[in-house]
């Protein structure tokens, strides 16, 4: 009936560990709960003057208005690179939705390991810096490395026409919103960072945007 002494010791040790853990949990909960109470009252303790409720409400309304006023007045472009969708917007309204292709996220390293490229579409807030009609592609070094070709010395050897569609909108750092020959890849992350758009959508985008049009990419 009775446990032998050799069995009793591990039971006591395990029970003690469990007891200590439970005590620690209790203390942790007490401390956490005490801090969590701050979630409701900490602004009162922030050393701010307890102003009149109406003054604070008015101040908040003004702040909200000031934030709202920062939104672009005319057309702006929103690019969802995760879902490969572009929205042309004016105020809260979406005037055009297009399926696009964004960066593949792949990495290319030069065979000698000196240079490395990550083919991501940059995220952030940009603006249209250039508008081009019948653009040509000035192939960068990585394009030759990727194809296993020698990098040419002359600029003329880098020019490739007909690759970027009828229009291109530059938004900085050699990134463009442009057309594509590979329309069947629209909706997939396959580019080297640029944004590929179908012909009809590109035409609408080109005419709606001007230099300075905001481009939001996430």
């Amino acid at each position: 009936m009775f446990l032998k002494r050799q069995h009793l010791i591990p039971i006591i040790v395990i029970s003690s560990i469990i007891f200590v853990l439970l005590v620690l949990e209790g203390v942790g909960y007490y401390l956490g709960g005490k801090s969590a109470a701050e979630w409701k009252k900490d602004s009162a303790e922030a050393g701010l003057e307890k102003g009149d409720l109406r003054i604070i409400q008015t101040k908040n309304r003004i702040l909200k208005k000031r934030i709202e006023r920062l939104s672009p007045a005319g057309f702006y472009i929103v690019i969802d690179s995760a879902n490969n969708i572009l929205y042309l917007k004016k105020g809260p309204d979406t005037t055009r939705e297009a399926v696009i292709s964004c960066g593949s996220g792949n990495i290319l390293e030069e065979p000698d390991g000196k240079r490395r490229w990550v083919f991501d579409t940059p995220m952030g807030v940009f603006e249209v810096k250039s508008k081009l009609v019948d653009p040509y592609w000035l192939k960068p070094d990585w394009a030759f490395i990727e194809e296993g070709e020698k990098i040419p010395k002359e600029k003329e050897d880098r020019i490739e026409g007909g690759m970027l569609g009828d229009y291109a909108l530059g938004f900085g750092d050699s990134y463009f919103i442009h057309g594509t020959l590979y329309t069947r890849l629209l909706g997939k992350n396959v580019t080297h960072g640029c944004i590929r758009v179908g012909d009809e959508d590109l035409k609408v985008l080109y005419s709606a945007s001007s230099i300075g049009t905001k481009v939001f990419i996430f």
């Binding site: 979630w39 602004s43 952030g124 990727e146």
Partner: protein, 205 residues
Amino acid sequence: MLSKSIQLLIILSIATNFLWSENTNLIKQTQLLEAELALAQKPQVYFVFHIKDKKISLKARGIALKEWEIKKIRYFGNSPPARPIPLLKKSTLFPPKRKNIKPGSYTEDGEFKLTTLELNDMPATYTLAMEGCIYIFLRPQSRSFFSKLRSIWYHFKWFTFPPLKKIWFSLKKRPLTSIEVVLKSKKDSQELYWSIMEGAACLIF
């Protein structure tokens, strides 16, 4: 008479408490709106975690570019400060891996065979470690039998680790905030992982 007085006292205390908390919430809202105004004036995207309204907004220049609905939320520890908090690290068990392109492997149709980093490669369960020891654990809502089983582990984790961590942080006199966010779907969770970059400014309302 006595019961009416007690009722009146209770109503008065509730009303005073409501007005007081409304007032303090408004002060905090002012601080956060001021912080948001400063962020919106810069050319950058930022994230707003609305704990009360149960949503996460990705914003730029005051415009909500994308919003994710929060299904469940719970928090523990210190209240986050009313200022932009930078995201220091996204951590997950299996981070997505980028693929390397072999130079010279490209052919005219080679592009079509490329394996790329896509939304489906993103993890759905991860932790956002922010400045000031703020940890936001995100996961999708449990739908299948196995994910429901897994959520038991998350509950266990939630009730076990934060209290122990809190003791450790209290000993080191550092604040600790743990927030658990359950998003509507796996896709929502993956989208947020995709969009939120390390270094991004976050506001926790």
